[in-house]
């Protein structure tokens, strides 16, 4: 066979074989139903694992989380719940009152996602290699272990609130449930790591893995923690969209929308000055470092604002990027779905509630080209798989 024919045959064989998704054969139970376990389980489900939600009679708490899809009745109307739970099964079981049924459901499972309510022994009889992956706000030990958690509390303690917002305060908490999502995403790495370790023979037997959502969110601020340790200084909140040591950095109003600016290196600064016709600032010695420019915020900020306000943000991005300046549009939620880059990458798929109402939702942000994950799908109705999975 010729080399070319061989290559063609190889490619044909690869496409014909339709490889299984990456996580096929992994069984996951979610017995907690928090946003964090939901997102962790979603990543498993999107990549082919068999994920079973074991919901209490009233359903998981995520079913009561906004936003809600209009004209759909509870408990199937949470868009957030639908997004988190496509490609999963749902059974209703009062798990604490039915430990034997719970064990049976967990038969052969590699992973149980938990919020600290269960013990490894609750599952291990019929699942000898099970990893009980417990995701809690603060971990299971330490002075905050019994604290009531919330995104606001977590991000405040993580140092992710202090530097946001007006200099005079109050500092601003970012909107939404990002803290839980970051917790679930981080737990996925550790949990799947345990599964892979067992399959590779690097670990064996049942185990518990504890993920602290607070500690997961320290990924944003650990550098600041070390900086604080070394300097002994607390640092100050500088104002909206002002973060040391980088300047200019921010979101600026243009004629047609918002422009995102970052100019960090000396050459980016010079190009930025050229782009905005403010060359007189390009070679000022103090402005050759980001922090030097930040000190002169009061001088530079009004100039930049003035130079961008009547221009097109999209045009500035195109021209700026040609000059190697990291500029980007700042799309509104409405614009996000039609932004050319996101359309080109199928960044949004379609999610359906159990009742079939569809809406757009983000696809997995990473792509495995040979074994792609699912994007979207329908969420299971509360207890939809009872007859199939409960004996």
């Amino acid at each position: 066979m010729s080399v070319a024919a061989e290559a063609a045959a190889d490619a044909a064989a690869e496409t014909a074989a339709e490889p299984d998704a990456a996580l096929v054969g992994i069984k996951v139970l979610d017995v907690a139903g928090t946003i964090a376990t939901g997102y962790c389980g979603k990543l498993f489900a999107d990549h082919g694992a068999d994920v079973i939600n074991v919901e209490p009679p009233g359903g998981f708490e995520t079913r009561r989380e906004p936003p809600f899809v209009p004209r759909v009745d509870a408990p199937e109307n949470s868009a957030l719940h639908a997004y988190l739970n496509t490609s999963k099964s749902s059974v209703v079981l009062d798990a604490e009152a039915n430990p034997r049924e719970l064990k049976e459901l967990a038969r052969g499972a590699q992973v149980v996602l938990d919020d600290g309510s269960f013990e490894v022994a609750d599952f291990a009889d019929l699942a000898p290699d099970v990893v009980v992956s417990t995701i809690t706000w603060f971990g299971r030990t330490g002075p905050y272990a019994e604290f009531q958690g919330a995104g606001a509390v977590c991000w405040a303690l993580a140092g992710l609130v202090r530097n946001v917002g007006p200099a005079e305060g109050p500092p601003i908490i970012a909107a939404g449930c990002g803290a839980e999502i970051v917790g679930g995403l981080t737990a996925y790495i550790g949990t799947l790591g345990q599964v892979v370790a067992r399959e590779m023979g690097n670990a064996s037997g049942p185990a518990r893995l504890d993920t602290s959502i607070l500690e997961a969110n320290l990924c944003f601020t650990e550098v600041g923690g070390v900086g604080g340790y070394r300097s002994g200084h607390r640092g100050r909140r500088l104002g909206i969209n002002r973060f040391a040591p980088t300047y200019p950095l921010g979101v600026y109003a243009c004629a047609d929308g918002w422009l995102g600016v970052t100019a960090l290196t000396p050459s980016q600064w010079k190009s930025f000055c050229t782009l905005l016709d403010m060359e007189e600032y390009a070679d000022v010695p103090q402005y050759q470092t980001a922090i030097g420019r930040l000190y002169d915020y009061d001088v530079l900020e009004p100039v930049i604002k003035e130079q961008v306000k009547d221009r097109s943000s999209w045009e500035l991005v195109r021209r700026g990027q040609d000059m190697r300046i990291p500029l980007a549009p700042v799309p509104t939620m409405e614009e996000l779905f039609v932004t050319d880059q996101y359309v080109a990458r199928d960044a949004f798929g379609e999610v359906a509630t159990a009742t079939g109402q569809t809406f757009k939702a983000p696809s997995t942000p990473f792509r495995l080209f040979k074994t792609p994950g699912a994007s979207g799908g329908r969420a299971a109705r509360l207890g939809e798989m009872n007859a199939e999975l409960l004996t």
Binding site: V69, P70, G139, P171, T191, G224, G225, V251, F366
Partner: protein, 407 residues
């Protein structure tokens, strides 16, 4: 003690720089993978410093960056000048005996060097390779330059936070990087599982800006599921009151409080001696009064003390910590979250634990971040069987080295 051997036998070539890529690889390193960071003496990791001068090099500036030292622990480091044929051959040699390659160059950099996936796949057909540029490896923005801040801007997330009258509000100097890093870790672990099961490697990419969409998921779904943009409420909530950040005793001291139930409200009202402001529907209507009353109380309280007092009553509260306080946080300390390790050029540095643990103690950390080219000799002799003389030649030709050089 040493780090866990969960990923014993997995070798990673980490070509990535800055924050996101190195953080992705750090997760694998923390679980026991042999992560070999590859830099160059001219093209060193820009997180060591992006305003290099000869004076800075002479002072050892490239070894002093906290940020660099934070995301590169548990790794080995070799320098290879990838623009030379010999450097490029040595990299291919490393790839041939590895499982994973991580890179986050701007697009086209590796192609120009002749070291893109199609080439590295020839060195190792079953290699897993991840590219993690800001916007992904295809689409009209594939070549766009970006930092973590650019990624946050382009994700649209600034439209979700802050007060309605303020410009779209960013929440971090580089939000995209940290999320890009953990998203990359998740992608790599997924591909590792597939490779172990099937023996097949593959190419992966991720878009860091898409990585932020789940972080802003409620705002995105509000738009798509209801057809209306989410309201920007500052620190307030459409569901709970009080909910906000309130001033405490001292300079720039604050506490975040979120009251979710009537039971919690009654507990707060009694403890703080607040006026009766009605059930939650009424409190949401009278939220200005609610916030004033709560602030009038908190102003006389010490934030950290009040946090413990309110939490003891079952009320969600957390003091607004600074970086300085993170390093001495009593909870993180009790959990041995920070490990002090001696690092050449900087002395003792606290290193954050992996955020997942088995048992009460975190995974141990074997070693702090490597110095530039610290493991040149070790890696080149042990893994690529180079002789001392060959390594000396590489040094003499400047293909490897231990000091940064200006271009």
């Amino acid at each position: 003690m040493s780090r866990p051997g969960l990923l014993d036998g997995v070798r990673v070539v980490d070509l990535s720089m800055g924050w996101a890529g190195p953080l992705a690889a750090r997760h694998l390193a923390d679980m026991g993978a042999d992560v070999i960071k590859v830099e160059g003496c001219v093209r060193f990791d820009w997180w060591r410093g992006w305003e290099a001068t000869q004076e800075w090099i002479n002072e050892g500036g490239a070894e002093k960056s906290s940020a660099f030292n934070m995301v590169n622990r548990n790794k080995r480091d070799v320098t290879l000048d990838l623009s030379t044929e010999r450097g490029s051959e040595l990299l291919k040699g490393l790839v041939a005996i590895s499982d994973v390659v991580v890179e986050n160059y701007s697009s086209a950099v590796l192609t120009k060097l002749g070291l893109h996936y199609e080439v590295l796949k020839e060195a190792n057909p079953e290699i897993i390779m991840i590219s993690m540029p800001a916007f992904g490896t295809d689409g009209p923005w594939q070549g766009y330059r970006a930092y973590g801040s650019t990624v946050e801007q382009a994700s649209g997330l600034p439209h979700l936070s802050g007060n309605a009258d303020d410009p779209p509000t960013m929440v971090h100097v580089a939000l995209g990087d940290a999320v890009g890093g953990i998203t990359g870790g998740a992608a790599l672990m997924t591909a590792l599982r597939n490779r172990h099961r099937t023996g097949r490697g593959q190419y992966l990419d991720l878009s860091q800006s898409q990585g932020l969409f789940p972080v802003g998921i409620q705002g995105i779904l509000t738009q798509s599921a209801t057809g209306k943009p989410p309201a920007r409420l500052g620190n307030r909530s459409a569901r709970f009151a009080p909910r906000g950040v309130y001033p405490c005793v001292g300079d720039d001291e604050w506490i975040a409080i979120e009251v979710r139930s009537e039971t919690e409200w009654r507990a707060l009202k009694d403890f703080a001696d607040l006026p009766d402001l009605g059930p939650v529907e009424e409190r949401l209507r009278r939220v200005d009064e609610v916030d004033l009353a709560v602030a009038a109380f908190t102003r006389g309280q010490v934030a950290e003390v009040l946090m413990f007092e309110l939490q003891a009553l079952g009320i969600r509260a957390g003091h607004v910590a600074s970086g300085l306080e993170l390093a001495s946080d009593p909870h993180l300390s009790a959990r041995s979250f920070w490990k002090l390790m001696e690092r050449e050029y900087v002395g003792e540095l606290p290193h954050p634990a992996a955020p997942y643990r088995q048992g009460d103690e975190p995974f141990d950390i074997d070693r702090p971040a490597p110095t530039l080219g610290e493991h040149n000799r070790e890696v080149l002799s042990q893994l690529l069987q180079l002789t001392d003389a060959e390594i000396d030649d590489l040094e003499a030709e400047g293909i490897i080295g231990n000091k940064p050089r200006l271009e």
